[in-house]
Amino acid sequence: MATVSQSVPMKKGRPGLGETLYAYGFITPAIAAMVVASFLPIAFTVYVSFTDWSLYNNALINGFHFVGFANFKTILDSLQGELLGVVIWTVAFASIATSVNFIVGLFLAFLLNNPNMPERNVYRTVLILPWAVPGAVMTLAWSGILNTDYGPLNLVLGNIHLGPFSPGHIQWLTDPNWARFSVLMVTAWFGYPFMMTACLGALQSIPTELSEAALVDGAGVFTRFWRITFPLLRSATLPLIISTFAYNLNNFGAVYLLTAGGPTPIGSNAGATDILPTYTYTLAYSHYLYGLACAYSIVIFFFIGTLSAAQMKWSRAFEEVDR
């Protein structure tokens, strides 16, 4: 065992056994915590997904059985039915929510990046507020605001009369299409401050000489933005966009607290605004089907992981860049 009583000279090549053991000793607590808190539950989930553990088939009375891939087969069969709609809506929801967040955030950051506006800090504080409120509570408040006949939003809109059309009776949460719109609207409301702050930081890091040089060369506002500002912005914000997309694929709270999965057609288990996590949650907790729910979580993991990995590869956002 190497002793460290004098300064150890820098060794070239592989470290000795003593040093290696010493190093592993230091990271053992962290690894132990990760194993207990993360790896063991994941391993247990994988195990349970191959069983039929449910309220009726559990260890004490009937004993749950190892059923192999039966749960996954159920999921594949469901893919031809209601699960396909849920998957399509999940991807659509994440894409639209992320794009809207980014566009609104970028637009507001652009407006706030004006050095000639002394009151821009006041505006920035006000615009950051949706980020500062507790998400779960505010989502529940939104579900009250969007109530068709007793919510304040429709009460206000009911005072607008454009000829024969009065928008005071929009069924925000009970009509399937309007419910999807409401979910996107509330997610955008919660998400744009993050994008705005990130874009603001990125915009302020772009040197102004580039734009001024382009202005001298006769470039218009749009050309300056698209050819100069946007490419420089891309490298800073693309990782954020990808992580926001992955977050929105799993955005259980925004959907469940607002519509609980949305207006459900009769005879179906999947609502109009159900994304994969909320659909799985309903299956697991309304019907106590633990084995099937574990199988679903594994499927969701692979689905989101593959999407995110493909995005990262395609956009080259995480590659080392030589500038």
């Binding site: 004993g63 288990n269 089907l289």
Partner: protein, 441 residues
């Protein structure tokens, strides 16, 4: 070196697979004689209840319960542990019980008994703790609620049901009086009385959580429908559903007619519990169909409120909404079955009057229920009457499959998205499929 680390991690992962396959079995003891056995002294029991969450600073119901527990502990020279209540304690018992981490007694509403019995964590109440003669002194609904497959799995101590709370400033009690010659007020008379009201602010005269099956059931039972057929001696038969019968379809149609899309036009289809609670607590809603758990907030808002049972459909038979029975059950893995049963019997018998004084819980022993103290109080007397007529929720685990499909179906009918007959057929088919699937079909 790396290879060994990898092997160690693989071994760790592999052992975790083994955890899931471990079965813990415990001996289950039963005692068929009616004489109480000799109790041990010096044992420590643990009781789980569900009164109050950790965030509530004062919990008068828990304090009352603690006093009764202390009386038993002193009389039998034992100790009782009373930790703060865990969330989802019924699901926790399924996993905590076999591993020895569970309590000896667990409190809860009776519809949680079905899942707990299904995962095998409850012991039947020994015959000596609750003899058949003693069971006769309890109201029938309470005994039926805690009995599964012919055996009682818990002892009841309170019953609650729902009904109409009304604001005395906005509507008078006379609106609920039945017609001459009839025993109960009818819906048609109440509706015409409600429509004659002038509500401040132009809001609806009646509010409730209309797409919640727990409240909707009163309309179904009033028209002759039921959830699962109750076979005497065997319990609820989950293969026989009464939610698509002609009476049930009439009930769904009636619920549609109550909204502004239907005949009676009382409230809009987007009425839900938070809207109704907000309006009632703000003094703007004359009648609110809910349960006694809201009484505390009514008192906090200084409302002058009264209680009336739901109207009947024909004036002759009372309304039968769902009732929930509060009970204490015994963990099958307890190490002190006789002491736990003795505490269960003592607690449930002696907690009824103190808890009524504390928070208005309706007792389940018939003689106490009919006593002057309860019948005198206008709100509690009304709740007691309603509870006697109410039907307990089915306590079998298959009941879990009913709530969501029925809530969705009735919600769709109320919003005019589906006809009553179509919704009933589709919902029952969905429930039957879910039950079949849950049993491995």
């Amino acid at each position: 070196m790396k290879r060994y680390i990898n092997l160690a991690i693989t071994a760790l992962v592999a052992t975790s697979f083994a955890f899931g396959a471990v079965n813990v079995s415990a001996a289950s003891r039963s005692n068929a004689s009616l004489t109480p056995p000799k109790l041990k002294t010096g044992v420590t029991l643990t009781v789980w209840d569900y009164f109050c969450t950790a965030s509530q600073h004062t919990c008068p119901e828990r304090d009352t319960e603690w006093k009764v527990i202390q009386q038993w502990a002193k009389a039998t020279h034992n100790k009782v542990n009373f930790p703060t209540n865990p969330d989802s304690h019924d699901q926790k018992l399924c996993t905590a019980g076999p591993s020895g981490q569970g309590p000896d007694l667990i409190a809860g509403p009776h519809n949680e008994l079905g899942p707990m019995v299904a995962c095998g964590t409850l012991a039947p109440i020994p015959a000596w703790a609750w003899t058949p003669a003693q069971q006769k002194t309890y109201i029938k609904a309470a005994v039926q609620a805690v009995t599964l497959s012919g055996h009682p799995y818990a002892m009841p101590w309170a019953i609650e049901t729902t009904g109409l709370f009304y604001n005395k400033d906005l509507i008078s009690a006379g609106a609920f009086k039945p017609a001459k010659g009839q025993t109960y007020q009818t819906w048609s008379r109440l509706i015409s009385n409600l429509k004659k009201l002038s509500v401040p602010g132009g809001g609806p005269p009646f509010g409730w959580d209309q797409a919640n099956f727990y409240f909707d059931y009163a309309f179904i039972s009033g028209n002759g429908g039921y959830v699962f057929k109750y076979v005497k001696g065997k319990g609820y038969d989950y293969n026989q559903l009464g939610l698509d019968s002609a009476g049930a379809v009439k009930a769904y149609q009636f619920l549609y007619d109550l909204t502004t899309n239907g005949k009676y036009k009382l409230y809009s289809p987007s009425m839900n519990d938070s809207v109704a609670a907000g309006l009632f607590n703000g003094g703007k809603l004359p009648v609110y169909y809910t349960g006694p758990w809201n009484i505390a907030s009514f008192k906090q808002n200084n409302l002058k409120f009264g209680f009336e049972p739901l109207p009947s459909f024909n004036g002759k038979t009372p309304s039968r909404p769902f009732s929930g029975v509060q009970d204490f059950a015994i963990n099958r893995f307890t190490k002190h079955l006789n002491e736990a049963a003795s505490l269960d019997a003592y607690l449930t018998k002696n907690m009824q009057v103190p808890e009524f004084k504390t928070s208005g819980r309706i007792p389940v022993i018939t003689s106490i229920l009919n006593s002057k103290a309860i019948q005198k109080d206008p709100v509690e007397g009304g709740l007691a009457h309603a509870a006697l007529a109410a039907s307990p929720m089915p306590n079998i685990p298959e009941m879990n499959e009913v709530w969501t499909p029925m809530g969705t179906a009735i919600g769709d009918v109320e919003q005019g998205k589906a006809s009553a007959a179509d919704a009933a057929k589709a919902a029952v088919a969905q429930i039957k499929a879910a039950i079949a699937k849950a049993h491995g079909g």
